[in-house]
Amino acid sequence: MNQVVQPEAATGLPDEQMLIGLGERVLDEARRQGATAAEASVSVGTGLSVSVRRGAVDTLEYERDRSLAVVVYMGQRSGAASSADFSEQSLKATVAAACSIARYTSEDPARGLADPALLATEFPDLDLYHPWSLDADRAIDLALECEAAALAGDPRIADCDSASVSTGDGLRVYLNSHGFVGSRLGTRHSRSCVAIARDEGGMQRDYWFSVARHADALETPAAIGKRAAQRAASRLGGRRLSTRRVPVLYTPMMARGVVGQFLGAISGGNLYRKSSFLLNALGEQVFPAHIRMQEFPRRPRGLASAAFDNEGVATRERTIVDGGRLETYLLDSYAARRLDRQSTGHAGGVHNLEVQSGDRDFDQLLQDMGTGLVVTELMGQGGNLVTGDYSRGAAGFWVENGELAYPVEEITVAGNLKDMFAGLQAVGADRDDRGGVITGSLLFDSMTVAGE
């Protein structure tokens, strides 16, 4: 294989058949070394990213990655190994390393490949591959355009920390000894800007970004720069709040994290370990009746679209929450066996999960809230999935009479996730589709805000 870094327009991924051939050799080698079953994944990716600052290029990076990973099974024991070296010698050594480990792991009845009946058999074109023939000069120009828009976006913008443009493509093949062979080919392009605003009180930074499978779907550089500038400037003059309990509205970017905590609490790994505050919640009312969550794994051009999960299990549309009730857990094969259930095709996570509710936009949600806190930034981990206890650093805006009154900072928001979910009053129509979880703003009825 030719692993030469290409300086211009670094596209040109290796042939799919070549990667599949490599995966087949891994499976053959595993069999030869005594494995009773095995799975292999081989991935390659290339990328170009540029970042500019003060009207000139700051960094220009060419990326080229590859990885070969294998899991071998010796009966109910398993071992895993990976390498970035695709040579025949490395392939054998990688399989040998996995086999050696398998001799020391325990017999585990739940271990093994996915149930053959659940493996994907059709591979629709999900329209995920749209290479962007972007050379470094063009990328730099686009980033400069973005930075200029940020600097012009508000008189208080002192500087841009960076304005960046990146493009990347990747191919991953997955094979297992049930005879499954699947490949995923996709592109991912993004533009982003981090603006810094300054006044006599100090500096504030904020950012904006756009990411898509097709470059045409990206927001314009000017729009991204301007939005980053407005967001940074709007934070200047932040005040603190006294400690109180109030309704809290999470903007979509922040809401995605809370939804992520919910998904963690219903994922198989935490359930069979009893490390979730949502044990035995299947069929229960976790959210108010107006909340619905649906997953669309095969949506064309979706950022998290895939026809099969990381174990080859076919994905399909699912309703995860209906009428506020939990309709399904998120299970991979191992967790499914531990819980005496079937895999739901969630090895590796969710694929385009949408939180749905009413059609109130952000301004209407402010009206609904009346007085309270809008959270635009969260800091720290702060969520404990075992207990549901939740506490994070925050910044945002204080809201009075349904309108943004002033920016606030150096405060915390806290509660218990179970109570927060039960008190989820509304999901905004301001849906943000820049990730595998798609949601609008979330309005929680009551959280503790700590400050001065």
Binding site: V5, R103, Y104, S106, T243, G380
Partner: protein
């Protein structure tokens, strides 16, 4: 050092048939009149991980990653390319790509190679081979058995053992040739306890740049199990944490994450060169109380954050950041030091060959002060005593930072009373240390568990501090 260089040549260059002449050829491509500096970073990392759960050795994995990162710098511009194939054509191609940042002009000559003189803070061993696989899994089982033996309320025990062997060779345009062979191990225990349907967890662990054999000496590994069980049982009794601003006493050791977040990141050279740090332009100012002296020290033997040379081949050092409350120094890599007209401090670090180096912390800690730790607690009427933490985060521009307590107690009338649930603490970096009114005599470093993330790059770090009191810090609990 010579030994490290020999190991690095054997591991990284010899298999590809690369010699000094090949490196010089790459620099011929890389260097031009407008290129101020350039380097090649060869790396091979071998790592493994073992995990125990449900009393079973549940998973094991092994990985090898290798490659070369090529960087050219021209003024404030950086061109970067890498290849995971260490062969001459790929090296030359990457050099051409990185060089694209400074397109014009004639090439210039590389100086004759000079080998770096380094030190030996840790042995150049491969931890993966330092213990048999059987001994590794036996170690996990002993830790599991100890945790389960301690209390019937222990419901789940998770034990992880990780080891890695990182061989790097750094050649730069000045003709400097440096190498480092970096072992790193870590053992971690998480315990989940259950009582009347209430579940809580606790965790403990540690490691450093040594072999697994350290875990077999004495009681170290079993002590992690005891500590994790102790924390989990304390949390079973924890009540709602208070909300609001109050005096906070931080325990010695790992709570030094305060320093890492509140001031450490803000004192990294890149943010100060760009003026994006809340500390920019404040050198010589008072940023902490007179009791506070804080250093970043990459030269501590065996420590997780230590390096013989940084990832630019510069020797690590002990840099005073704050001395008796006055801001004294930033942490620098070569590029930011050059652009700020100052000397590098051995803080140029990168996650791997596929990432660009940046100024990063090594082991960051506060020196001991004059106060008896008991006296510090006795001085608080009503406040929080926080002794264990999860992670933290900082916005270096606004200076706001958080760190999340995982084990904390109320202080009432000068006495530690009831445990409270974990809560996030938030403060303002440039002024939080001015409110440190008491600093203990009990300086301790953490047990070797820290990983720092910056721009998506992870590197191992250490922190430490004595017991100290912050007169006012906001505690993000739920009880108003």
């Amino acid at each position: 050092m010579t030994e490290s260089l020999d190991i690095a040549r054997d591991t990284l260059l010899a298999p590809a048939g690369l010699d000094d002449g090949a490196l010089a050829q790459a620099f011929d491509r890389l260097l031009g009149p407008s290129v101020d500096a350039a380097d090649l970073y060869f790396q091979c990392t071998r790592s493994e991980s073992w995990s125990l759960e449900d009393g079973m050795i549940k998973q094991g994995s092994h990985s090898i990653d290798q490659g070369v990162g090529v960087r050219a710098m021209s003024g404030e511009k950086t061109g970067f390319a890498y290849s995971d194939d260490i062969v001459l054509p790929a090296l030359l191609e990457a050099s051409g790509a990185a060089r694209a940042i400074a397109r014009s002009g004639q090439s210039r000559q590389l100086q004759a190679w000079q080998r770096g003189r380094g030190r030996s803070l840790y042995p150049p061993l491969d931890p993966v081979d330092s213990l048999s696989d059987q001994d590794k899994v036996d170690l996990l089982r002993r830790v599991d058995a100890e945790a389960r033996r301690l209390d019937p309320r222990v419901e789940q025990v998770f034990v992880n053992l990780n080891g890695s062997h990182d061989v790097v060779l750094i050649a730069d345009g000045e003709g400097r040739l440096n190498a480092d062979v970096r072992p790193l191990v870590r053992l971690n225990v998480r315990v989940q306890v259950e009582q009347n349907g209430r579940r809580e967890s606790g965790s403990a662990g540690g490691g450093g740049r040594y072999s697994y054999a350290r875990y077999q000496e004495g009681d170290m590994a079993l002590e992690f199990a005891r500590e994790a069980v102790r924390q989990a049982l304390v949390n079973l009794e924890a009540e709602e944490a208070p909300a609001g601003s109050m005096p906070v006493v931080l325990g010695a050791g790992w709570p030094g994450i305060l320093l890492h977040e509140a001031i450490g990141h803000g004192l990294e050279g890149d943010f100060n060169r760009k003026g994006s740090s809340a500390f920019a332009g404040r050198m010589g100012d008072r940023v902490a109380s007179e009791h506070c002296t804080v250093v970043d020290d990459g030269t501590l033997a065996d420590r997780r954050g230590s390096l013989n040379v940084d990832d630019e081949g510069h020797p690590t050092q002990c840099t005073t950041l704050i001395e008796n409350g006055i801001l004294k120094g930033f942490m620098q890599d070569r590029m930011n030091a050059r652009l700020m007209n100052t000397a590098p401090t051995g803080n140029g670090r990168r996650q791997s060959y596929a990432h660009l180096p940046m100024p990063r912390m090594t082991n960051t800690y506060m020196l001991a002060g004059p106060h008896d730790p008991d006296e510090i607690i006795a001085s608080v009427d009503r406040g929080l005593y926080a002794v264990n933490f999860g992670g933290g985060q900082v916005d270096i521009t606004s200076g706001k930072f958080v760190f999340s307590a995982s084990e904390a107690y109320l202080i009432e009338n000068g006495k530690v009373t009831r445990p409270v649930k974990g809560a996030t603490l938030i403060g303002n970096g440039p002024d939080v240390l001015t409110r440190v009114s008491m600093v203990g005599t009990d300086m301790a470093l953490d047990s070797g568990i820290g990983t720092c993330g910056k721009d998506g790059q992870l590197v191992p770090v250490g922190v430490g501090q004595p017991t100290l009191k912050v007169d006012a810090l906001t505690v993000g609990g739920t009880r108003n």
